[in-house]
Point group: C2
Chain length 202, copies 2
Amino acid sequence: MSKNHKNNDKYHRILDAAIKVFADQGFHTSTIAQIAREAGVADGTIYLYFKNKQDILFQFFAYKTRLVFDNFKNAVEKEKNAIDKLKCLIRTHFEEFQRDRKMAEVYRMETRQCHRLMETQIKEMTKMYLDLIAAIVEQGQQEASMRQDLYLVLVKRFILGAVEEVINVWVISGGRYDLVSQADPLVDLFLKGIGCQEISDQ
Amino acid sequence: MSKNHKNNDKYHRILDAAIKVFADQGFHTSTIAQIAREAGVADGTIYLYFKNKQDILFQFFAYKTRLVFDNFKNAVEKEKNAIDKLKCLIRTHFEEFQRDRKMAEVYRMETRQCHRLMETQIKEMTKMYLDLIAAIVEQGQQEASMRQDLYLVLVKRFILGAVEEVINVWVISGGRYDLVSQADPLVDLFLKGIGCQEISDQ
DNA sequence: CAATAATGAATGAGCATTCATTTAACAAAA
DNA sequence: TTTTGTTAAATGAATGCTCATTCATTATTG
């Protein structure tokens, strides 16, 4: 009956337990036994809800992370001018990752690992994010709040990279300070850069 | 006699082979047998030059990567004003990583993994890099080529993150385009940002 | 002939996955 | 309400495979 385990309480118990274990030790060094213990179920039970160990990580990307990224688009659409949209995107990103630090830790770790099966998932999410940035910047150019002479491909990476690095440090610090408050200062850097206007044109 | 294996040809053969294998599959899924095969030696031989599998990765950070990062400082010192130093840092970074793509791949992957033993190495290199950026920015502020109202901690991450992300994409693409040519456009973004001067002050 | 270096088969530990068995859930019959 | 039967869910010990690591043996060097 419940082919769709996603409606089942135990599916989530196990997935959350796995995320906690992955966050602490990384995917490869985590064992099914540890995940089972953390979830309070027997080792074998995990295989009633997941195909295998890889599948747990797959579900993490396909289900958990995906939801978060879908949110970004909705949040951004609520704002109307480009600069507010950019602020909103980054604030929402920080909010969501701060809300679920274990998710942030696993995301940070495992997106850089080569797990053949996840690649598509990860690429799709990244593309969605980059497209969001591109749309915002193009709108900003039309509104004349952003420079015309931008190399868009680079701008997208420039923004994504900085955002992820700010999260990275926050994760490494153990989440001991408020991440969201860094959003506006970061957007300020994106917009104005670090140079003095008068000289930076040289 | 050769306690210091680093002077030994075979030490480098094995280390380079390992880097190639790690780059292709990641540390955890690589086997000693694969590394031995790639290096053209027997499995056991590896243990004459390295304590164990982890030690190979340790040597990668302690020896290979470390050399590259030490270079950055020297390169930067050759320039005299802050903006040129920043350009030099990023150009050199791109040059070195482009010169040795396998190294870049392993660095990208394994710095985000939790390998207890590497942590110190990685933190030290990152700190050195961030200090370099901080010094450049502070000089820029004295020279009045960079803004006075900068939150330095954030600026460091902002720059490092963007730089690493640009490398990241280049690595993912399989190194199919020229990385170094992205250095100047990136520094331009760092200095001027993406906003229009007139409005970005709003 | 040492002494040093290299070999690769053998060892054993660790762990994902399976599956025979047990337990729980629920419904129909008494 | 209790009894009994049926199905679904959960268990965890047993299996078997994959390696990292070792070490007795062989080759190389000088």
